[in-house]
């Protein structure tokens, strides 16, 4: 959508009558906006999808040729072997994931098997923190993408260099020198006013901008906070402007992941210089009556990701995006007595996008070779997974400086 930059900016405020009151905001915003555009030239966006609760990898990518799957471990809740969507003659997708299957057929999916870390932790909270920080010792405060952002994005001054479509900031994005906003919708990332007096809303919005654009004789803490609030107001206005110029080129599922990925697409299409987007989709802790719930979740994930790339294809932006999934752990191999599964270890994850290199990475689960606790032994260190993304997609010259050394590149993303 070609749009005069200055016009964009002033319209973005949404209130014509306040333009005279906001010179500082406008000037700062204009400078920032040019920077967004230049940093958007590379245009690469990483979309991280967290499947929260511990996704059952064995019912997601099914080792359907392993007789122990249907015969021993998943007698009740297993996916009928005849229904799986075959990937390579050994593994097959849950039949709910037809969208992911068509992306696979189009050469856009890499499946990463057996992902975990040494001595996997079975606590949701601890394992989540380990995945967020990429540090099994939990000595790192910042997230792994936060550490990346401190190196790569701290200079941009772009308040939307990354963001989480989430009610609170995921630790993955916690950085020292970059602050990523977190919002669950555009509605929540805005200065809302008295709904009973809509006629006064423009006055309130204008006054909010004005009270954050005061001149201060000396630098003080008010000024620091006002700067943050101005960034909030300008980036909110920018997002709304982008949203108003966006029409989805695909039908997203109504679930929260679909809506979040739609918002991601809006941001990508808007060319805001955003390079990291983060989405959380919960409900995977299926201790009981798993089958119906889990199949519906997988269908939601698969349909949402398919719609996301269909949309980006329609917008001519698919090659800008790479999507990766993670979950704090897989689940136990043996189904439990409540028709569910309990916390396990290694899991399976997806990298999706035109730059994904189609294939299965890491050895597929071998159900005859479980560890002494009856769990899948971990095969692929999650830092290899992260490092491959950092190196091959985000172009980090030295991923070891973020993740440590000794994690081989998986090659599941094209290096261009």
């Amino acid at each position: 959508m070609p749009l005069n930059r200055r016009e964009f900016l002033f319209r973005g405020v949404g209130v014509a009558t306040v333009s005279a009151m906001i010179p500082r905001f406008a000037i700062a915003g204009a400078r920032h906006f040019e920077e967004y555009v230049s940093s958007a030239a590379s245009g690469r966006v990483l979309v991280v999808v967290e499947l929260s609760g511990g996704n059952d990898g064995l019912n997601t990518v099914i080792p359907y040729t392993d007789a122990l799957y249907a015969g021993t471990y998943r007698k009740t809740i297993g996916v009928p072997v005849s229904n799986v969507l075959d990937l390579d003659g050994t593994l097959g997708l849950n039949p709910a994931m037809s969208g992911m299957k068509s992306l696979w057929d189009a050469g856009r999916v890499a499946v990463i098997e057996g992902v975990a870390y040494p001595s996997p932790n079975l606590s949701h909270f601890t394992s989540r923190d380990i995945w967020h920080t990429a540090d099994p010792k939990l000595l790192e405060r910042r997230g792994w993408l936060g550490r990346y952002a401190d190196k790569a994005l701290a200079g941009t001054q772009n308040p939307l260099s990354g963001c989480a479509i989430s009610s609170s900031l995921p630790r993955t994005l916690l950085a020292d020198n970059v602050v990523f906003p977190a919002f669950s919708s555009l509605g929540s990332y805005s200065y809302t006013t008295d709904g009973a007096n809509p006629a006064d809303g423009a006055n309130q919005a204008a006054a909010f901008v004005a009270q954050n654009s005061l001149e201060h004789e000396i630098a003080n803490r008010n000024e620091t906070i006002e700067h943050v609030a101005r960034d909030a107001a300008s980036s909110s206005a920018t997002l709304r402007q982008v949203a108003s110029g966006y029409t989805a080129k695909a039908t997203y599922p109504a679930n929260s992941l679909g809506q979040a990925l739609k918002l991601c697409a809006e941001i990508i299409v808007g060319n805001l210089g955003t390079s990291i987007l983060y989405v959380t989709y919960g409900g995977f802790d299926n201790h009981s009556a798993q089958k119906t719930t889990h199949d519906a979740l997988l269908r939601g994930v698969s349909d949402a990701i398919k719609a996301f790339f269909d949309d980006l294809d329609g917008q001519g932006k698919a090659s800008n995006a790479l999507l990766m999934t993670w979950s704090e752990f897989g689940r136990r191999v043996q189904e439990n007595g409540s028709l569910g599964t309990d916390h396990g270890t290694a899991g399976v994850h997806f990298v999706v996008g035109p730059s994904a290199v189609k294939g299965i990475y890491g050895p597929p689960p071998q159900l005859a070779k479980l560890d002494s606790n009856g769990n899948l032994p971990w095969q692929t260190d999650f830092r290899s997974y992260y490092g491959t993304i950092l190196t091959n997609w985000l172009g980090v010259p030295d991923a070891a400086s973020v993740l440590g050394t000794g994690y081989p590149n998986l090659g599941c993303v094209a290096r261009t």
Binding site: T17, V18, L138, R141, P159, S167, S168, L169, R171, L174, V179, F180, P181, A182, F183, S188, Y189, S190, Y191, T192, T193, D194, G195, A196, N197, A199, D200, A202, N203, Q204, A206, A207, F208, A210, Q211, N212, L214, E215, H216, R221, N222, E223, T224, I225, E226, V228, A229, D231, A232, S235, S236
Partner: protein
């Protein structure tokens, strides 16, 4: 030692391991046959390492009480180590960041003379002239908890606290769940573009609520006994309520203009009618509560 008594780099790894040995034997246990809920902090002598330990240079068969005494009485060239550590924490919590050395030394001396009384330190701090200096005001960012509670009290709101508490997560302070044992960083760490809006969403759930449930305020009661003849009167009345009486002139001017603005943005709106009071008092409170002046306290 790092987080609660001495501060980082005031001890060695050997001090850590010998202190851990001194603490052996303390456990959470329950009487035989009692339910887990009756578990209590207790000492199991059989599990205590009674050997000699060296902690901060002092050697003996120290137990937990001995070890705590060693930590609290440790001194260096500048006096009590834990006294200065706690003085810095208290000053940073109540007054402002980067406390001056003289204030830390003053509070640390109270710590020593009172035999490690936090109460005596806080009492002393609240009587120090520096605490009342203008530059000690508006020097700390309200934490999310402070931010949700302060307006409820200042505006005498009715609340069940459930929805205010629920909004804490999006403000960055999930209760009882800081990122690590150190706790929240606090101060300017609370403020980012997302939390600015999360705070505004909270005040916009409280201030305009005209219903009979949830957090809500009684606007007529708030301004009864107040002169509301001019926009400035309205601003003064509410600024007094919220502790913003000495907000900068620039803020006051923005607020006055808001009160006097018609829907098309032109001036001359204000007249003291119940409808105008209901609309503009609520709108003004929302603005004041989302100003930099109010985020600071």
């Amino acid at each position: 030692m790092e987080l609660f008594t001495l501060g980082v780099d005031r001890y060695s790894q050997k001090d850590v391991s010998d202190l851990a040995r001194a603490l052996t034997g303390w456990t959470i246990a329950k009487p035989d046959g009692a339910p887990v809920s009756e578990s209590a902090f207790s000492f199991n002598a059989a599990a205590h390492d009674a050997g000699a330990k060296t902690i901060l240079g002092q050697t003996g068969t120290w137990n937990a009480d001995d070890a705590i005494g060693i930590l609290l009485n440790a001194t260096d060239g500048n006096g009590s180590v834990s006294g200065r550590f706690l003085a810095e924490k208290l000053w940073t919590w109540f007054v402002y960041h980067d406390p001056p050395d003289w204030a830390v030394a003053d509070l640390a001396s109270v710590y020593v003379s009172s035999n490690h009384s936090i109460r005596a330190m806080v009492d002393h701090l609240f009587h120090m002239p520096e605490f009342y200096e203008p530059h000690s005001r508006q020097a700390l960012v309200r934490s999310p908890v402070e931010y949700i509670v302060a307006p409820l009290r200042q505006l005498e709101a009715k609340t069940d606290l459930s929805s205010p508490a629920a909004s804490l997560n999006s403000m960055g302070q999930a209760l009882f769940n800081p990122l690590d044992a150190k706790g929240w960083e606090g101060d300017l760490d609370w403020m980012n573009t997302g939390t600015v809006f999360a705070r505004a969403a909270y005040t916009n759930s409280l201030v305009p609520n005209r219903g009979a449930t949830g957090s809500r305020i009684d606007v007529p009661a708030l301004v009864s006994q107040k002169s509301l003849a001019t926009p400035r009167d309205v601003v003064t009345a509410l600024a007094d309520r919220l502790g913003l009486a000495d907000a900068p002139p620039g803020s006051q001017a923005v607020w006055e203009k808001y009160v006097d603005s018609k829907p098309d943005g032109s001036r001359g709106y204000w007249t003291n009618t119940p409808a105008a009071v209901d609309q503009k008092v609520r709108g003004l409170l929302h603005l004041m509560l989302t100003s930099a002046d109010y985020h600071l306290s």
